[in-house]
């Protein structure tokens, strides 16, 4: 047995380099992912699932090297390719793939017997409690709702005590309400920092909410990789996200809830008022500000209904091919994007270094765009 070596604490959570030819697509991808949630983002057909399958061992790339926490899973140069069952990679499939002939409890316990060493005493109880599936244990997968199925699949993968968790669009098959139900569980998992996660998505909103690191993929290649706040506030990367979906994240702390239904948050750029946020004062949040919800004003606006007027400095201007333009604004240490017309950019004389005010309508920030973190 060439058992995978012990995890090296200094090694990145995932280091990956691979090349593989498909009919019509050559996958040529390399990136390193730190702990936390690394989101693989790109349009369908970009090769996201193939990358994830290569990590799981379900796809054997022609060339490449994949190491997780220092343990080498694949090294084509050394002719090493561990089979899936020896990789200890948890995989949450889009379609859950629960075993239909086993109860929820048996599904959850399936992987534990293969994990090395004795399971931590309260592992099972802790995971079922964290995911809120304790009441479902005796049921069969056929009797579960879509959201419950996703949570059981997540719990099953976690209980196999993986080195890395792969999640391939786990929310894509769910409606908006079910998505809103699952997202907090994944945030909890990320914030507990138990296991690094490679998360495939083509939703910019999910990306903004969950990711710590972003890898943008297009036609089999990495077009951009980096910390989420940096990538999302980069006008060039915004092209890869789809212009309509452009939006950066602001970190905020809950100050207080007011009686008129608004919540006061403080950010690096000043006070932000949002419709009631379900979080306690003092809690750290990330708020996604969509570029199209931001209005710019050179002078501090007076007599405006919008509650949030944040002083900012223009740091980048990208004129689009059409009538639009993306402007990056610095607010303290953070940056957001504003989507304007080229005409406005010219009329206001916006260029790097210009001071202005960013106006954000409180109600424009969707509930789903506020998450922990």
């Amino acid at each position: 047995m060439t058992a995978p070596g012990p995890a090296d604490a200094a090694a990145p959570a995932l280091s990956l380099r691979l090349r593989h030819g498909f009919p019509g697509l050559t996958l040529d991808v390399a990136f390193e992912a730190p702990a936390g949630v690394t989101a693989l983002f790109g349009p369908s057909g970009a090769g996201k699932t193939s990358v994830v399958n290569a990590v799981a061992g379900l796809l054997r790339p022609e060339q490449g090297r994949i190491a997780v926490g220092g343990a080498v899973l694949l090294d084509s140069a050394a002719r090493l390719c561990l089979p899936p069952h020896r990789r200890r990679i948890g995989y949450v499939f889009q379609d859950a793939r629960l075993f239909p002939h086993l109860s929820v409890a048996a599904n959850l316990r399936y992987g534990a017997r293969f994990a090395p060493g004795p399971a931590p005493q309260d592992d099972f109880d802790r995971v079922t409690e964290m995911l809120g599936i304790g009441a479902l244990l005796d049921r069969r997968p056929a009797a579960l709702s879509g959201g419950e199925r996703s949570r059981v699949a997540l719990g099953r993968a976690l209980l196999s005590r993986p080195r890395l968790l792969l999640m391939d669009e786990p929310l894509a098959a769910l409606d908006a309400a079910r998505k809103a139900e699952i997202l907090p569980w994944i945030e909890r998992l990320r914030d507990a920092a138990e296991v690094p996660i490679l998360y495939v998505t083509h939703s910019a909103a999910e990306l903004a909410r969950l990711a710590t690191t972003v890898v943008l993929l297009d036609r089999g290649r990495v077009t951009r990789a980096g910390p989420v706040a940096e990538v999302l506030s980069d006008p060039d990367a915004a092209q890869g996200l789809g212009r309509r979906d452009a939006g950066a994240i602001l970190h905020a702390t809950v100050d207080r809830h007011d009686d008129d239904g608004l919540t006061r948050l403080s950010t690096a750029a000043g006070t932000l008022w949002l419709p009631r946020v379900a979080a306690d004062p003092g809690q750290r949040l990330r708020v996604r500000i969509e570029a199209q919800d931001v209005i710019l004003s050179r002078a501090r606006p007076e007599g405006l209904s919008a509650l949030n007027v944040l002083p900012a400095t223009v740091s980048q201007v990208r004129l689009g091919e059409g009538p639009g333009a993306l402007v990056q604004l610095r607010l303290g240490e953070e940056a957001i994007l504003a989507r304007l017309t080229r005409r406005s950019v010219a009329a206001l004389g916006l260029e790097p270094g210009v001071a202005c005010h960013a106006v954000i309508k409180s109600v424009a920030v969707a509930k789903g765009d506020v998450g922990s973190g």
Partner: protein, 231 residues
């Protein structure tokens, strides 16, 4: 009750059950392997294997019987080699079981193969990512899911083995107490004038056994399907 059938008829019924039982039992693992190979395998010679498995279904049974005799007869090379180590098939009940197994094999493999093809390979992949090696995946995921198909294949094969006539009579003849199964006994009874009562009794038993087998498959697969879906 025992007087209802003549001793010869009891003997034929008992022998038929014994032959069909062993034919089914021994071909079960082989059938499973063949079905897995045909459903999942991507290897050279797959279509040849497919043809071989299905051959007894389309060949005249007498041809299959003769080919068995030519292969396993005491003077045939393979038969002689088996004779050396004390295994004799020609004109023995074991030979009847072999003939029945060969004739029933395509039906068994077909039922199992359909069941295997209905299993989502994604479930097996999921089991592998959870740490299960291939044999474990088969034992804990694939096999439970194809169980209705395996049982259906086994019952179908048993019923077919009970009724096998052409290959059996060619390969092992119809020796009372050794190779005279129900169908060959019916055939023999037909040769004797005034024996209609005996023929009818054995025909009735054959019909009842066949229908019981069919009902059993239905019952078992429905119960297993219910267990799987959990409703």
């Amino acid at each position: 009750m025992a007087g209802w059938l003549s001793p010869e008829e009891w003997q034929a019924l008992g022998l038929s059950l014994k032959v069909a039982f062993w034919a089914t039992l021994v071909s079960l693992p082989l059938g499973l392997v063949a079905a897995m190979a045909l459903a999942r395998g991507r290897f050279w010679g797959r279509s040849i294997l497919n043809g071989l498995v299905h051959l007894p279904l389309i060949l005249p049974p007498v041809v299959t019987g003769y080919l068995l005799l030519a292969t396993f007869g005491r003077r045939a090379p393979l038969g002689a080699a088996l004779d050396e180590i004390g295994i004799v098939l020609a004109f023995r009940w074991t030979g009847a079981a072999l003939a029945a197994a060969v004739m029933a094999f395509p039906l068994m493999v077909r039922a199992m193969r359909l069941a295997i093809e209905a299993v989502d390979p994604g479930l097996e992949q999921a089991a592998a990512t959870l740490g299960a090696s291939r044999p474990w995946v088969f034992a804990t995921v694939t096999l439970p899911l194809i169980l209705p198909g395996v049982l259906a294949g086994a019952v179908l094969a048993f019923a077919k083995a009970m009724g096998e006539f052409g290959a059996t009579i060619t390969f092992v003849s119809a020796i009372p107490g050794e190779t005279m199964t129900l169908p060959t006994a019916i055939n023999a009874a037909l040769q004797v004038p005034g024996n209609e009562a005996s023929v009818w009794r054995m025909v009735l038993i054959s019909v009842v056994l066949a229908m019981a087998a069919l009902a059993l498959t239905e019952l078992v697969s429905r119960r297993v399907a219910r267990r799987i879906s959990g409703t």
